[in-house]
């Protein structure tokens, strides 16, 4: 682990932004001010940030319905995202996408996606494009333990191997596909990576609640995939989902004390703080200062989202070919 | 009406259609307070406690606790103020209709009225003609059969167009109509796409028919394409309507006004004319005058005098002479005073590029005809050039307006204040007249209409003036006296 002080602070800040963004959404959704379906990423921050801290804007990611963390980690604007989720015409997608379809193609973020398992084939296309361009860029698809059961994901893995696409399949195993347990729904024994391996890919595994585990694992994965001709790879991170499948999910499927336990033992932010303090890399004061700054930034994004322009009926008809 | 409120089976969630009352916590006749527990209601998913939303008395309990399910919206109890009479509660219950809150409630209502019985029984009670009962094995809709029977249509030759060959109402209507003689318009010119222009097929066809080049046209159709309308806009109106337009519906074209604000002259003219027509009590005197002699004399006189005086110049001269002979017509009206003048300042109405103007031939009674002609010519030129000044138009005692050159027979002019009258001169017409010897002869006449300000000039005075004028025109030698 040889990260500079600046890199450590940036990584922590990125995770904290995601955490507070989500915690704040959780509050504002309860009041009914935010419309639609929202799926929170809280608990998995170390994966998004540990992956994206290695990427440039030329590298592409394709996300999921639980996409806020990936978007923020890939560089999407916090205020633009908050406005989008609040349905403003000033949002990243002018209020036309919402939580499940946030995208910023210029930042290499090819979209969150409302369809479970739809992202993997798209990342194969982006990986083929990267291979054609031959500049060592990659395309990454994030999939959960739910999407790993979709035929589209299987097709995508095979096609990526066949076409030697520069695609990385990142599986975030948070143990729940919607409301169904991983141990029930994934037929291979407690493992997704071995599936990818069976398609002929090199695979890695890491702890998705530990930023440093994710970061170091991804360094190896990327070193491999960025070599032209090596083709795709897969990596599975074991992680935790702090909230329900969607906001409003009563989570009756959780075990007694489970949520408290994972918040206590498997919180990537707490783990990060402990690691860097123990190693003498950062002081509590450094991190406390970041915490305060991030809280204010999120507060500001909500202020902006509430004040932002609302879309009008005319906006329905733009950004699509409508002349039939 | 006392404060009576129904308590109905509530709807919790999209799928709830019915519920059962598990237990009442309040008895009939008991009062309850807002927030108090009223009853327990069970659905197939949950058991819920129902709390009172306001203070009231449970006046009537219609649905005791039981295992029987009641549909959403069913009346369970009636709440009201303590002093509400029972009769009112009864009336309320009798009149109560459950709201249709669920699909099931809508679908489960009274059965729809039965469709009218088919065939014979459905025949109208008072048919236009005696219905002829049709007995058939063919599939035919009830309405079609009714129509066929009423109109005596033989249904056997009809090919049914309905499902599985059933005869429809439309089929019977078709059978009722006479077969039409075939009359077709045939093929048309096929005009292929060309790279020079992006045009709809019909636009191309019309352009080819009228020899219109498409290349310069800016299309206003979908995706910038040249439409029928774009080409039709270029078809010359004199061209006969193209064959393809036959039977086409009439289409309105753009008819936007081009807005031209009044300029200064027009503003003044408009204001003065409006004022004049609204405030001056006009009356009109009409007379016709024979001008054969005047026209003959004009040729000779113009030659002799070396002038190009027009008929109108002679009329101005005649008017001026008549005015000085009738000073009671040679007037201006100012408030409550009439100003009469010794000499006649005759205004002539001239159409200029800036609109109607009325320059004045001053003291026309003192001018000989050549001077009048020169003066009017100068004034008209000035008017055409837009160079008439205030001094050219101020005052005047009388106006002459001549529209004879446009073939106008007669018209009524508006007085040009402060002048007392205006003469409207129509065109010359050949008319048949009875001569002194009783024969029929033709002569050339003009119609003169004088608009008169009745405040200053009476009918008799105006009439006498016109008599003089008519005399001067019919015996024009007097103009040179």
């Amino acid at each position: 682990m040889q990260l500079s002080r600046e890199a450590l602070l940036r990584a922590y800040r990125q995770m904290k932004v995601i955490r507070e963004f989500e915690e704040r959404l959780h509050v504002d959704i309860q009041t009914g001010e935010i419309a639609g379906f929202t799926h929170l990423y809280c608990g998995q921050e170390a994966v998004a940030v540990g992956v994206c801290e290695h990427l440039s804007v030329e590298d592409k990611i394709v996300s999921t319905h639980r996409g806020h963390g990936h978007c923020l980690a890939k560089g999407c604007d916090v205020n633009g995202m908050m406005k989008e989720i609040w349905g403003s015409r000033e949002g990243l997608c002018k209020g036309k996408g919402g939580s499940m379809h946030i995208a910023d193609v210029d930042k290499g973020m090819l979209g969150a996606n409302g369809i479970v398992g739809a992202g993997a084939p798209i990342a194969v296309g982006a990986g083929i494009a990267a291979k054609i361009d031959g500049k060592g860029h990659v395309a990454i698809t994030f999939s959960g333990d739910g999407a790993c059961n979709q035929g589209t994901t299987f097709e995508a893995m095979n096609m990526a191997v066949v076409t030697k696409a520069a695609t990385i399949f990142v599986f975030e195993n948070n143990h729940y596909s919607e409301h169904t347990g991983f141990e029930y729904a994934v037929g291979t024994n407690k493992d997704i990576a071995s599936r990818a391996e069976a398609f002929g890919m090199k695979v890695w595994r890491g702890d998705g609640t530990d930023f440093f585990s994710v970061y170091e694992t991804m360094r190896e994965v990327l070193d491999y995939v960025r070599v032209p001709g090596n083709g795709p790879a897969a990596v599975e991170f074991d992680t935790e989902r702090f909230f329900g499948h969607f906001e409003g999910d009563p989570q009756r499927y959780r075990g007694p004390g489970e949520l408290d336990r994972i918040r206590e033992m498997r919180d990537c932010l707490k783990n990060f703080r402990k690691s860097v303090i123990d190693a003498g890399l950062l002081e509590h004061a450094d991190i406390d200062a970041l915490d305060a700054e991030v809280l204010e930034a999120i507060e500001e994004s909500v202020r902006q989202a509430k004040a932002a322009d609302r879309p009008t009926a005319e906006d329905v008809l733009t950004d699509v070919y409508i002349s039939y | 009406m006392a404060n009576i409120k129904p308590f109905c089976m509530p709807k919790w969630g999209i799928e709830m259609t019915e519920g059962t009352i598990a237990e009442w916590m309040v008895k009939e006749g008991e009062a309850f307070a807002k927030g108090q527990l009223l009853c327990l209601i069970e659905t197939d998913k949950i058991t819920n406690e129902v709390e009172a939303e306001y203070d009231a008395v449970l006046k009537r309990l219609l649905t005791p606790a039981s295992e029987e399910a009641h549909p959403v919206g069913a009346l369970l109890a009636v709440f009201a103020d303590a002093d509400t009479p029972d009769a009112e509660i009864d009336a309320f219950i009798a009149a109560f209709k459950p709201a249709e809150t669920s699909v099931a409630a809508k679908g489960g209502g009274a059965a729809p009225a039965p469709a009218p019985a088919s065939a014979p029984a459905a025949a109208p009670a008072t048919p236009a003609r005696e219905p002829k009962k049709i007995v058939t094995n063919r599939a035919i809709s009830p309405e079609a059969l009714k129509l066929a029977e009423a109109e005596g249509v033989d249904i056997e030759p009809i090919t049914g167009s309905g499902r599985n060959g059933r005869i429809t109402y439309q089929d019977v209507v078709q059978a009722l109509r006479p077969e039409r003689a075939a009359s077709f318009k045939g093929t048309a010119q096929l005009v292929a796409d060309t790279p020079e222009a992006f045009a709809s097929p019909l636009a191309r066809r019309i352009a080819a028919q009228h020899g219109i080049a498409l290349s310069g046209i800016t299309g206003t159709g979908p995706r910038g394409r040249i439409s029928k309308a774009d080409v039709l806009a270029l078809v010359k109106p004199t061209t006969a309507a193209p064959a393809v337009a036959f039977g086409a519906p009439f289409e309105l074209v753009a008819n936007e006004p081009s807005v031209q604000p009044f300029d200064k002259v027009r503003k003044v003219v408009a204001r003065r004319l409006t004022e004049a027509k609204q405030t001056i009590p006009h009356f009109y005197l009409r007379v016709s005058a024979s001008v054969d002699a005047l026209m003959d004399l004009r040729k000779t006189a113009n030659l002799v005098l070396g002038t190009k005086a027009s008929i109108n110049d002679y009329i101005v001269k005649a008017v001026a002479l008549a005015l000085v002979r009738h000073p009671d017509v040679n007037v201006q009206v100012h408030g409550d005073a009439v100003h009469s003048f010794p000499h006649a300042d005759v205004a002539i109405a001239v159409a200029s590029p800036k609109g109607l103007v009325t320059p004045i031939v001053r003291q026309a009674d003192r001018m000989h005809i050549a001077q009048i002609a020169a003066t009017t010519r100068a004034l008209i030129d000035k008017a055409q050039a837009g160079k008439l000044g205030f001094e050219d138009m101020d005052g005047g005692t009388f106006s002459v307006s001549n529209l004879g050159m446009f073939g106008i027979e007669q018209f009524d002019a508006i007085i040009n204040p402060p002048q007392g009258a205006i003469l409207a001169v129509g065109g010359a017409n050949r008319v048949a007249v009875e001569t002194a010897s009783g024969d029929i002869a033709f002569e050339t006449r003009i119609q003169l209409t004088m608009s008169v300000d009745h405040r200053a000039i009476d009918g008799a005075a105006g009439a006498q003036f016109l008599q003089t004028l008519k005399g001067l025109l019919e015996a024009p030698e007097g103009l040179f006296a």
Partner: protein, 337 residues
């Protein structure tokens, strides 16, 4: 003007556009053919010979032979389009939209709108459709009625080799996803083709293939030829038919249809898809809504029956709208009292 087959118009246009713009790539099952076999690449071309020679000219990076994975093909096209490429993906049989529909209608079609207009999605999805090969229910369907109803897609249905040339080039250069439906029974049809390297036919611009003033016949694809045969037969009787080849169903050239009906007062739509919610029903409704006063007879749509496409020769022939059925429909409309 060169004379070439419909299929050659497809492959030559792709080749010209790939040579013009290095971002154009194509992908699909067996578009190279023979990959991983003793025969080697191009041992056998795609089954329609609509990609012959591309691999040799442009190489494996730009001519991507894929496994049988329709979802992944459509998804890869989506990812390529979002990454600055201009993919031309081949679905082989239009019937296979069933296994790849999510990527077409939830992904490709919606990106630009969902992302607030901040991306383009220049993908062409080519697929062979239609009956005529006795290929039975899962390899013979006309699927345009499903795809035309999806916002965000443009749907092209060329009839002639020249249409293929002009419309495919427009499709490849378009920044929105375009569904390009090639009728498999037309692949062998020959016709004059423009040799202008920039020849493009705008979308939503119908072609009038016969001009007449008594009845309007709207169609496209294989059945257009049947309509022309009917028009030619009736012309000899003094009955004139406007035969409109739509060329694209989205956008639909409403203007040309309405212009024609205003002249003729009678409408027949001949559509290869089943009748319910069909292109025929849509156009009849359009004319009823917008040219009601011009109509002299009820508009009529000629479709196959509401059945799957059958296999046996006799059955498939009976299924498709035929010249006789179209003629009967025209005469029915003409005889309306």
């Amino acid at each position: 003007m060169a004379k070439m087959m419909y299929r050659d118009a497809v492959v030559s246009t792709i080749a010209e556009e790939m040579a013009r713009d290095e971002n154009v790539v194509c992908l699909g099952e067996d578009i190279v053919g023979g990959m991983g076999t003793p025969g080697g690449p191009e041992a056998i071309g795609g089954i329609w010979s609509t990609s012959t020679g591309l691999f040799g000219k442009f190489g494996a990076d730009r001519v991507i032979d894929t496994p049988i994975s329709e979802s992944a093909i459509m998804g890869a096209a989506a990812g390529l389009a979002l990454s600055g490429k201009r993919p031309i993906a081949e679905l082989m049989f239009a019937d296979f939209i069933g296994v790849s529909l999510d990527q077409i209608w939830n992904q490709l079609a919606k990106f630009r709108y969902m992302f607030g207009g901040k991306t383009k999605c220049p993908a062409v999805i080519r697929m062979a459709y239609g009956a005529g090969y006795n290929a039975a229910a899962q390899h013979s369907q006309a699927v345009h009625q499903i795809l035309t109803g999806m916002p965000g897609l443009k749907v092209v249905m060329p009839t002639t080799p020249d249409d293929v040339k002009g419309l495919l080039r427009t499709a490849i250069r378009d920044d929105d996803p375009v569904i390009f439906l090639e009728h498999k029974a037309l692949y062998g049809v020959k016709g004059e083709v423009s040799d202008d390297p920039d020849y493009m036919i705008p979308f939503g611009h119908a072609r009038l293939s016969r001009a007449g003033q008594d009845v309007t016949i709207v169609s496209t694809g294989l059945l257009l030829g049947f309509c022309e045969a009917v028009a030619d037969k009736l012309a000899a009787e003094g009955i004139g038919c406007d035969v409109i080849d739509l060329r694209t169903t989205s956008p639909l050239d409403e203007e040309t249809i309405l212009d024609s009906v205003e002249v003729t007062g009678r409408l027949i739509v001949v559509d290869e898809a089943p009748p319910r919610c069909s292109l025929g029903a849509d156009i009849c409704a359009l004319v009823a809504e917008k040219a009601f006063a011009s109509l002299k007879a009820p508009p009529l749509s000629v479709n196959p029956p509401h059945t799957p496409v059958p296999f046996a020769r006799e059955l498939e022939t009976a299924y498709l709208p035929s010249v006789d059925k179209i003629e009967a429909a025209v005469r029915k409309v003409l005889s309306y009292r």
